[in-house]
Symmetry: C2
Subunit: 340 residues, 2 copies
């Protein structure tokens, strides 16, 4: 019997409220077991052309003589291909299907610029691969496979607000939903100050995090913050979630800057936007909080009613090239539309 | 017998290699007992009009009906006057002289802009007051009185490279010289990105430091770094001193930014200069290291032979309003020239 299995999926990027930075040294680094529980919001762009989605098609067929993965028109090799295989190999094994695949994936937003493009991409890949291989898995189980491609991809399996349980094994390090996209009122304006690719990938940073003398304190605090943030989301306490996000973001960037080698993802415009957000909160009474992933761009978290005013303020800020406003996104899911 | 005692002194600013940030909670905050030993270089500006000096005259006379202190033409009141009295009161008591004083002080550089103007000012005040009151004290002893005005002023009593022993009492928290200005080859280019007065004085920050969850680790590391820096100065190891300065500076600013309330002394141009220094070291082979005091301006430490090239690079950097190049300065001392 010849194999011919195809599925496509879409998944959304997410912004961490309590960050994933650094991998557990007790496990194979490929497993992406984090150092603490983390919390995020799955993002859905308010503009039609920038939903912050990845769209991925996986096709397994006897016709292919080797595994192929194409991201944004470019054929992946080396580390890039390795990460795709980290997700697909164990699923192919689990399904007991031994044939080659072709993957094609497209993002509607810049890759490797600290926009969590890999989170969306690997979540979509896991959903599509599980569906193509016809494996019956819960979303939590699928999230463990997404994690093998990129840690934070585990969270993008779910919509709304998500808790990634650190765990201490492949099975126990999974993401689960805290609440759906309509159950907690928060949005964000992303201030893009640079669309350049990062000179240092997060991958290197996850390894060097432990060289910072402050890392142990950060892990302890982050663990507390993850549970506080979860509770604050369920309590519908935006101020609390925002404050935690801002503190936790600073912690991560200070670990980065005090690691060996030091990683300075902030650029001058990042700091300008951060200061604008602080001033807006203090002087204009518009309650907003900053958070920055592993890149220079700044997310300003706010209540949904404040998104447009905040977007206008961000657009006026020196150094901001463009803005993307987002609300909480839905679960990742399969789609009828195939990329090839 | 009527009292008529007058003396003038000059003292130089200093740049901390291992910073003073936060006061010991076991002592009266007015004592400025630090949380760790600290290390600095006393600075002498290479341009005639900007030596980074304070020039202070103290006159004790029965003719005065009240204590008066004038800094840069402005009569001090409130907190400013209180700090002057913190230095003069115990000295007046020690000399057993009960009459009023007039103080006049001038800096040849901007005050309260993170340029350690108070370090120079209070060092000059202590020297002048001790001399006017005709008290016989060692420089180490004088440094304890300078400390009562501004912690880092203790270090400005000495020239060259200075170690401020944390201590656990007024007498034991003193500064001593590690080596003279010509015994270790280091200079600095100060990139001025703002001459505005700080919106938050260091004084407030010294109290809030303990609210950062990272402060304990910083204290422990700073204590190690102070002794490593001392040894590196004596070993004539510029690279080591530079690396310690850069790390320790980051530690202090991260404590500031993670304190409650958070203090962001860096501005976008601060970060731009920091990145220029990192790039210069990496790509141009000019060995330089950044350090930033409680303000936005950046010191770039380098070997004396590199000062002019580094100055040219700094002057070309966007956001740099002007530069001040410095070499290690001499001891503070009395001067024949009185301000009134």
């Amino acid at each position: 019997m010849s194999v011919n299995m195809k599925s496509s999926a879409i998944a959304h990027s997410n912004i961490a409220i309590v960050k994933y930075w650094g991998r557990s040294p007790s496990h194979d680094p490929k497993m992406n077991i984090p150092l603490n529980d983390t919390v995020s919001m799955t993002k859905y762009g308010l503009m039609k052309d920038t939903r912050l989605q990845a769209h991925t098609t996986v096709h397994l067929s006897d016709d292919y003589s080797k595994d192929i993965a194409i991201l944004g028109g470019e054929t992946l090799t080396g580390k890039g291909m390795e990460r795709i295989l980290n997700v697909i190999e164990p699923l192919r094994e689990r399904a007991n299907i031994d044939c080659r695949f072709k993957m094609m994936s497209e993002n509607d937003f810049p890759t490797q610029a600290g926009m969590a493009s890999s989170a969306a991409g690997f979540a979509a890949l896991a959903i599509a691969a599980v569906d193509a291989l016809n494996i019956n898995l819960s979303k939590e189980e699928i999230s463990t496979y997404a994690r093998l491609g990129s840690g934070s991809a585990a969270r993008s399996i779910h919509g709304g607000f998500v808790f990634w349980n650190q765990g201490d094994s492949h099975e126990t390090s999974y993401a689960k939903q805290i609440c759906g996209p309509d159950e907690f009122d928060m949005g964000a304006v992303i201030a893009i100050v640079s669309e350049e690719k990062k000179s240092i990938t997060s991958d290197i940073g996850h390894e060097s995090a432990r060289t910072s003398p402050f890392n142990k304190v950060r892990i302890k605090k982050s663990q507390e913050q993850a549970w506080e943030a979860r509770k604050a989301v369920l309590d519908n306490d935006f101020s609390k979630v925002g404050k935690i996000a801002e503190e936790n973001c600073k912690y991560m960037h200070f670990i980065m800057m005090t690691s060996d080698p030091p990683l300075f993802y902030w650029n001058p415009d990042t700091l300008r936007v951060i200061k604008t957000i602080q001033r807006t909160r203090k002087e204009e009474g518009l309650e907003c909080y900053f958070t920055v992933d592993a890149g220079p761009n700044v997310h300003s978290l706010c209540r949904s009613e404040d998104i447009y005013e905040l977007q206008k303020l961000m657009e006026k800020t020196e150094g901001v090239k463009k803005t993307i406003s987002v609300k909480p996104g839905d679960d990742s899911c399969t789609t009828e539309k195939h990329l090839f």
